[in-house]
Amino acid sequence: MNFLNNKLFGILTSLLLIIFAATSCKKFLDVNTDPNNLTSSKVPYIMTGALSNTVRIQITSNVHVVAGTWSGFYGHSTSYTGGGNEKTYVVTNTQFDWMTTIYDNIYDYQKVIERADAEGVGFWKDPAVIMQCYDYARLVDIYGDVPFTDAVHDLSNLTPKYDKQEDIYDSLIIRLDNAMASMQAASWPTASDVTRQDILFGLNKTDWIHFANTLKLRLLLHQDFMGTRDAYIVSNVQSTANLGYLDKNVVIQPGYAATSGKLNPYYSLYGFDESNTVTTNFRYRKMNKVIIDWLKITHDDYRLQGLAWPQGTIVTSPLPTWPSTASSYTYKGVPMGAGSGASNSTSSAMGPFYIQRGVTSSQTGPLVLFTLAESKFLQAEAAVKYPALATDLGDPATNYNDGVHAHFRLVGNMCYEVGAGNIINNAGNTQADAAYSAYIAQPIANVNWAASSDKLRAILIQKWVSFVHINGLEAWTDYRKSSVTSENGHTFYSVPLDPRSQVGIGNEPVRMIYPQIEFTTNGNNVPKGIDHIQDSPIFWDVNN
């Protein structure tokens, strides 16, 4: 290599190095900002999304329909395969995961709690805490022991330990008390562009306190058959009874519309899509014989017509009218566990309460989280069980009748005399009021207060009816805490099996088993030895 070549080589080498330096600069690489997704958001938007999801979770096919099946609401048309696990009570941990969506929801509230102060919107924290309590209570009612103190800390604790279910319940009561106290002292904004993000109560502080207090009452009363918690329950009810309980239905209507993805979630999940095309769910998820028969034998045609469609493949019209024209229809439920004999055309579909094909008010109507009826029934239940509480909560007979009445009005406003505003405030409804009066006057046990020898049973049965299409899990929880045992005498309704059923009586599920994902990702912590849904009841279930 001669001098010239050396020089050339040197020049070219430095040229290359210059190119490196120029191209390796950060500017060249700075193209990695995601253009397809948002990578940040503000607390109010997260709160709105989380509230919507809390309500949606309540009606998912797992939490609502499977639990609802086990409390006598739903069954499967035997024209279609599927639903075998809830039908035969054979569940393995690969089949259901009721956990992921709930923790995902709790996590969103956790971020609200952690970030609210920094964003100058600290008032969102108490509602977020209350909603976390709502979610954790569901988890305990489904699984018993679950992660609580270690949960939702994402990367900082990837294998959360499990806490004892009783301890979680007790903590939830304390958290609710603290949230109520904190809200009482707080002053909340009133500007509509702020309050609108609260799709439950529009940042009405009183409503939030009522809601927290009613939730607290629900959780305390889950424990009222245990016998060991009576003093605890009474003192805790008394401590906040003066704050009052829900006096309205809790619903969300963020702006549902008759377009794809924006429909009322119940309507689109179990009914029809935006083109009025029937979903598979509507075809095969049918009403259960237990609820249909109960409504029939108590001559409860008003609610029967609202909660179920007459038998038939897709009967979605005409809409029910009152007084009843039901004689021209037949209503038929699917027997528990039926392996055959309940075809698509010979069983009743989920009713016009949420599902009226192509009807705008049904496509875009509100979704119910918590009913006024339940609030009344809880107050009645507490006062019957603990007479000392009657001074705080009022006469149980009145609360009982108000509860039934409230549910008649809800059914009426959802499907006979429709109006979204009326639903929240449970506005008067002439047909519903008349139907209620006729119904409640019947001298039938568990309908008429005076005719009911077992008042608690009457309350639980009417509460059970009020959970249809609203809250399958809560119905199942009430059933588990109070049924089966003869000692306590409150087999408030039974879930009789079909003679052709594929399960044996006595195999009723008492819990959900932990999902497979927990065994693969948190195997050291997830409780072992709970392999069947008949194993290890929830702590408040003393009947097994």
Partner: protein, 1053 residues
């Protein structure tokens, strides 16, 4: 620099050119042709040609590694054809390595393999990926389906990365291109393929080369103009189907016995036994007509769903050149119809290569333009065929437009429509355009120093329209149609009039999607080669810049107003779903490479590269997270040359070793942030409300590229003048700090983390033996064997308690990467077994097995052992080739089996003739002794035996819900291809021979025969529902295996 000036000083200066070939006529690339006593030298091109300026009295010297050097006096001649004798002490092969740089085999300290054009085209596959099957030890082609344009997946030396890309880098004429290039490149355009098997071989490509590389060099122009035409035609036929039952007809669990289970509108085949009686499937139509068929199995019924496919392939190519320039151009057209009725595919490829030399500068240009179109059904046709009972003569329903009982109004089945109606009314039309090309400028600064600049681009454009026709049922169908000749007493369910399915319309739909992708790759590098006495030095110094962009747009609507009109104006709702996304990533790097040789027998080679990559870049991130260095070194030692050892048996012996530390940056862009999604339904326009939900995947802030360490040792031995050549390698790769999207406990609030976590050890051994058993004037016989064994083991997965990474699951299986196992690993649901005897435990009350909780691990789903043999026998003008492959040591899951068990079509479902039986080889728990005892008397209940136990989806412990019924060994032997060709000796044909230079006719077949183990009664074990990492599960989306026969005529002028 003297020659530079001196050239024009000599009056007799002139140009000579020539072609250098081996004794058997193969062109030799990379032979140095030098004017003796001067620096004036050139190297031969890929066609073996050279052009050189010299004078009459001079002598030219030809030297090339592996060949005996030769001197030729120029004299008055200007054209030469020079045959070089091989130096039998070395391997002859010239290998194209990274960046298109050629090396001779003995310089290379890592494992490579070459595939010649004849090997590529012998099976006449128009898919280049498929054509590589079974050609090289350690290279496995996964042909995941038999569809009309499938995309095979090519893997070198097993898989390393659990969630990242494991496929080999494809380099076309020096430019890295997307791996789908193999599916559209015309195999006839290929001059040579070098396989860089991994580790060190592709270090120069940095992270891109971590999975090894397939380096494709296309044909270039030649000095002797050549025009060639060829045409191939082949038929494709169904090879085999799973075994169907022929005993029972339509029915399900309706009654107490098999007779009562009959139903005329049932898709399941759990009805009574065939008895030849006349039955009436379906319902009575408005005109009073109804169907009648004998209730007996129609032989060949299930075969009659499948067509005979045809493929027509036409090729044209032209090559020419002169001293300074050459061109090559080709055109290929492929038209194919598959075995699925109406499926069509058409591809047109155009290629153009040219180069020109201006003094010291050579500029070349390569381009491929391909456009294809496909028309395929979107319906799961195979699944629909399984739901047609065996006594229905289904071809009667094919012409549903003109004949009754085929359309949805009148088709007999209450659950699934006529497969032919579905096929015709659910279509997808695709049109794709591919362009790739590069421009290379090479400047010779001195004889030793060259600079090369190469800019390449690869562009794709995909358009697809999917259409589903709407259907409105007649009033009669929905409300009045009824059954006849059927005892209504049995019909507990379907009382009432009209079809269930006819109660609502078939809405139809339309989707349009468009996407484009664009890659630019730029290389600028210097090469410097020098010899000093006993030493040689070859160095490369370069820079690489890559930019990749893509964009996708999709629009769809869910319901159409009128049939056969596919435009969005026809949307019944006026509502559309839209989606779009864009993506961009950039990378730049610098590299250096040096090979030092000593006396031609010892070579030490080292490579280092430093890269900066955008996918790990975010403002504020630490520099070492988005830049990294990769390096490697290898050594090659030729023993015989070193020790001057000569003998008649062993004529070549090389040992080699390499070590390499690479990085694998295989994540896509935009993965460093947790995303926020609109909560379900939001935003709502009527209220203007927006609600967000926090995404479930959280990346670790320290995320960076995976680390891959490879070591390899090997030997290459030549015996008997290279008539027997053995190449053996052992390699070990450790892929550490793997990037996992790992599921975490949902109780953390998130569902996945993106982190550097797992570690995989991948190792294997591969050997190839090439033999030339007969070589004389008339006969030649080559038999090659390739064998490889590869296994991997997941040694670390994220944290304690995190034991498996899920790829795919359904109720019956999980496909996972699991600690201490080879991945992917299959686990299935199973029956409970007595741990002492391994026998299945039954429940005495039903006689049926008890389902075990949890999942049973059954094995890895990628083969551990592959073996292939290639035969090439020629006699005079005849050539016979054959290719047989074995793969073994793995299991597959046949989801297809689930569908067949559900529908009651599988032969297994009648193994007990639908009668009560005592479960073979079972035990039960004896209540008194609390021990498992042999079951000889508890028979299954009739109900369980007929339906509940086999096809009932709602029975948790039925066979259809138990995965162990459907996995099988994946082992197979295949006769991949067989061909016989005749090459006319045109010299015998006088004047015609002067015009027509060659005629070759070939008859050939592909996938002619497959041998499977007895537990695989399902389908071709190569099929898979994905061509990603999680292979091993086949479904009805994989249409049945086929075999092909065809013929080719090729004429050259």
């Amino acid at each position: 620099m003297l020659f530079f000036i001196g050239g024009s000083a000599f009056a007799q200066e002139r140009t000579v050119s020539g072609r250098v070939v081996t004794t058997d006529g193969t062109p030799l690339q990379g032979i140095t042709v030098q004017v003796k006593g001067t620096h004036n030298a050139v190297a031969t091109n890929s066609s073996g040609e050279f052009t050189l300026t010299t004078s009459n009295g001079s002598t030219i010297v030809l030297t090339g590694v592996g060949f005996q050097s030769q001197e030729i006096k120029v004299g008055g001649r200007s054209e030469f054809t020079i045959v070089l004798q091989s130096n039998t002490k070395t391997l002859e092969q010239v290998v194209v390595t990274a960046l298109g740089i050629t090396r001779t085999a003995k310089e290379i300290g890592y494992s490579t393999a070459n595939i010649s054009p004849t090997e590529i085209t012998e099976g006449k596959s128009f898919n280049l990926g498929e054509a590589l099957t079974n050609k090289v030890a350690g290279l496995t082609v996964y042909n995941t389906s038999a569809g009309v344009n499938s995309s095979p997946r090519i893997v070198l030396r097993g898989i390393r990365s659990m969630t990242g890309d494991n496929t080999a880098l494809v380099v076309l004429d020096g430019v890295p291109v997307p791996s789908n290039t193999l599916t559209y490149l015309n195999p006839n355009d290929v001059q040579d393929i070098s396989i860089m098997k991994g580790g060190q071989a592709a270090t120069l490509y940095g992270s891109d080369g971590v999975n090894g590389a397939i380096i494709i060099t296309t044909k270039k122009g030649s000095k002797r103009p050549e025009i060639s035409f060829s045409n191939s035609y082949n038929v494709e036929k169904l090879a085999y189907l799973p075994k169907f039952q022929t005993e029972n007809g339509s029915g399900s669990a309706y009654g107490a016995d098999a007779q009562e289970d009959y139903h005329p509108a049932e898709n399941q085949q759990y009805g009574p036994g065939f008895d030849g009686s006349i039955r009436f499937p379906g319902r009575v139509q408005q005109d009073g007509s109804f169907l009648t068929f004998p209730f007996s199995y129609i032989p060949g019924m299930h075969e009659s769903f499948w067509n005979t496919g045809h493929t027509n392939q036409s090729d044209f190519s032209y090559r020419a050149g002169n001293d300074k320039s050459n061109i090559y151009t080709s055109f290929q057209r492929v038209q194919t119809n598959g075995i699925v009725p109406e499926d069509e595919y058409e591809r047109n490829s155009f290629r153009f290569n040219a180069s020109n030399t201006f003094d010291r500068l050579t500029i070349s240009f390569d381009a491929t333009y391909t456009w294809d179109k496909s028309n395929k059904t979107t319906t799961d046709y195979y699944f629909y065929t399984l739901n047609v009972p065996g006594w229905i003569p289904i071809t009667d329903f094919r012409d549903w437009k003109n004949k009754p009982f085929g359309d949805p109004n009148s088709y007999f089945n209450d659950y699934y429509y006529n497969p032919f109606w579905m096929l015709d009314n659910n279509r997808s039309f695709g049109r794709n355009h591919y362009f790739n090309g590069n421009i290379t400028a090479k400047f010779k600064i001195t004889n030793e120093l060259n600079i090369t600049a190469r800019v390449g681009t690869a562009n794709t454009e995909f358009q697809a329209t999917s259409s589903a026709n709407p259907w409105t049922f007649s009033q009669w169908a929905s409300s009045y149609a009824y059954m006849t000749g059927y005892n209504e007493d049995y019909d507990y369910f379907l009382t009432g009039l009209g079809y269930n399915k006819a109660k609502s319309v078939i809405p139809g739909g339309l989707g349009e999607s468009y996407s484009n992708g664009n890659r630019i790759n730029s290389d600028l590098f210097l090469t410097y080669n020098k010899k000093f006495n006993n030493f040689s030095l070859q160095t490369i110094l370069g820079n690489n810049i890559q930019v990749r962009k893509s964009k996708n747009i999709g629009v769809s609507t869910g319901a159409l107003a009128f049939p056969d009109f596919f435009n969005f104006v026809n949307s019944e709702t006026g509502l559309y779903n839209g989606s779009n996304s864009i993506s961009e990533q950039r990378k730049t790097g610098g590299y250096a490479d040096a090979t030092a040789g000593y006396k031609g027998f010892l070579f030490i080679h080292g490579t280092a590269r430093h890269d900066w990559t955008s996918v790990f870049y975010k403002p504020g991130r630490k520099a070492d997270l988005y830049q990294y260095t990769t390096w490697g070194a290898d050594v090659s030692f030729s023993l015989l040359d070193a020790f001057h050892y000569n003998n008649n048996i062993l004529n070549f012996a090389k040992i080699r070793a390499s070590f390499n530390k690479n990085r694998n940056d295989n994540i896509g862009p935009y993965q460093l942030d947790q995303v926020y999604n609109f909560a379900s339904g939001f935003p709502f326009s009527s209220t203007g409300l927006t609600g967000m939900s926090i995404g479930g995947t959280l990346p670790f802030s320290t995320l960076s590229a995976e680390k891959v360490t490879s070591t390899e040792v090997g030997t290459e031995l030549g015996f008997l003048q290279n008539r027997v050549m053995l190449n053996v390698s052992y390699y070990r790769q450790i892929a550490d700090q793997q990037i996992l999207t790992a599921q975490v406990s949902p109780t953390t609030g998130i569902q996945n983390i993106l982190t550097n976590a797992a570690r995989v050890n991948n190792h294997g051994i591969e050997a190839s033996l090439k033999t030339n058993l007969i070589r004389n004037r008339d006969w030649n016989l080559n038999v090659d064997f390739n064998w490889s064994y590869n296994t991997n083991k997941v040694t670390t997965l994220y944290v304690d308690g995190f034991s498996s990474l899920l790829y795919q699951s359904n109720g019956n299986l999980n496909l996972v990467a699991e600690k201490d196992q080879m991945f992917p690993y299959l686990k299935v649901t199973s029956f409970e077994r007595d741990s002492a005897t391994g026998k299945i435990i039954i429940d005495p009350s039903t006689g049926w097995p008890v389902k075990a909780s949890g999942l049973m691990g059954v094995g890895n789903t990628m083969p551990k052992t592959t073996f292939g043999t290639n035969l090439n026998l020629s006699w005079k003008g005849f050539t016979l080739t054959g290719n047989i492959e074995y793969r073994g040591g793995y299991v597959i899951y046949n989801d297809l089996g689930e569908d067949m068990m559900f529908s009651g079509t599988t032969a297994i479902s009648t193994i007990m003739h639908r009668q009560q039986f005592v479960w073979p080889n079972s035990v039960y728990l004896d209540a008194s002794s609390n021990k498992y005892v042999e079951n000889t008397n508890f028979a299954t209940s009739q109900y369980a035996a007929t339906y509940n136990g086999f096809g009932d989806l709602s029975n948790g412990s039925s066979l259809v819900n138990t995965g162990e019924s459907f996995y099988s060994s994946g082992d197979f032997w295949k006769l991949r291809s067989l061909s016989l060709s005749y090459n006319f000796d045109m010299a015998k044909y006088g004047n015609i021979g002067n015009v027509i230079k060659g005629i070759t006719i070939t008859a050939w077949g592909r996938n002619l025969k497959t041998w499977l183990p007895s537990d695989n009664w399902f389908t071709d074990p190569e099929f898979s529902n994905t061509n990603g990492n999680s292979i091993g599960i086949n479904t009805t989306s994989n249409t049945p295996p086929t075999r092909q026969w065809g013929g080719t005529l090729r004429v050259t002028f």
